[in-house]
Symmetry: C2
Subunit: 250 residues, 2 copies
Amino acid sequence: MLSKAKIRLIQSLQYKKFRKAHALFVVEGLKSIQEFIHAGWEIDTLYTTEIAFAKLNKIPQNIKLSEVSELEIRKISFLQNPQGMLALIRIPETQNMVYENLRGRYSLALDRIQDPGNMGTIIRTAEWFGIQNIICSEDCVDIYNPKVVQASMGSLARINISYKDLLPFFEKIELPIYGALLDGESIYHTQFATEGIVLMGNEGNGIHDSLMNKIDYGVTIPNFGSAESLNVAVATTVFCSEIARKKING
Amino acid sequence: MLSKAKIRLIQSLQYKKFRKAHALFVVEGLKSIQEFIHAGWEIDTLYTTEIAFAKLNKIPQNIKLSEVSELEIRKISFLQNPQGMLALIRIPETQNMVYENLRGRYSLALDRIQDPGNMGTIIRTAEWFGIQNIICSEDCVDIYNPKVVQASMGSLARINISYKDLLPFFEKIELPIYGALLDGESIYHTQFATEGIVLMGNEGNGIHDSLMNKIDYGVTIPNFGSAESLNVAVATTVFCSEIARKKING
């Protein structure tokens, strides 16, 4: 039986302000929740209906379980079709970024990505293509937004993501920066180094002016038709795919 | 001044049944509407606020304009942030597909794509990469769904899209069919012919069993990480990009 106060608390976690205040966020659905458990995240409480609980494989003994009714799960779920299981998970304290971890591989830098669906899809796609680190500008959408969590399909549990002021960050790292621009060299002709940062810009406005002179290589996805632009998660996909392909094909 | 009946009619167009009955669908926003006008679609009525009207460049004389208030546009808009302009556009009669148009190029076939955001993104991405034809299974989401229209960002105005029973269609066309599978050859090693069909499957279930033996080449996007799957619009992007790249790079 959920108290009214608890229901209000969970509902409030749709807003960043309350996620920050409570250091909690919501993950829904058996599969995603298991990925966070498996990756060692601290589960505050796991709310589950009796039916969903039966589908749950062995979970760590120390996880606090709370059985709820179908009606109750509807009250706390952010989904149109609640999945019978919802976890409150602790937001970890921000770790200092270990710059050495960016060496010898590619990472993504995201400038002011606003749409949570795009952010979640970028996280999921990055993981598929073996990218382990994403650096977000401080004004990107919050990665613990329920829609980001949903679209990332569990990949959020495994990718290192940090928020940074990108300008000093770019000044500090000594890695080539490849910026997604409209007037760069064709991505299909770009020689990607063995390590680097791919910088993607805001949905409507692209990369901020202040970052432009930090870009070592402007890279463009050639346009073969009349579409005016590509969705930013789609454009990120092309970068991830090309870099992964060149690792294989040389 | 909009009548209640008119408001009800427009609101009803969020449902396929009513779009079909009236042969009308809704496009919102100056930019998208202009793309449909420019591409020669039949505009039934253009509803516009005074402010939005001022931004409108010359439009064909024969378009029926209806000035509405900000309040009225809120009532008929499907968007959270209405853009001051909404057009009812006539759904064209289904044209017989000219099979010859599929020759010498790549087209997409979509099996049971359900999510309107995915469908719209696929249409937009396909156009960017020069794909002109999309064949949807009859149980794909309706392309005139407002969320598809929105996500396609105007590309819907220019791409040929038809709904077909895919099995007889595949039996009729004499083109190689490349199916997106989990256990095919790596896309980075696939030799794509100069023409063909790329077949993408449903978000959760992939390509239907009944279509499997029509696939000439099973093609896989290699997994470089631990993510379990890719979003279908993202996977389609990798196919479009690779085929376009090979056209350039050989």
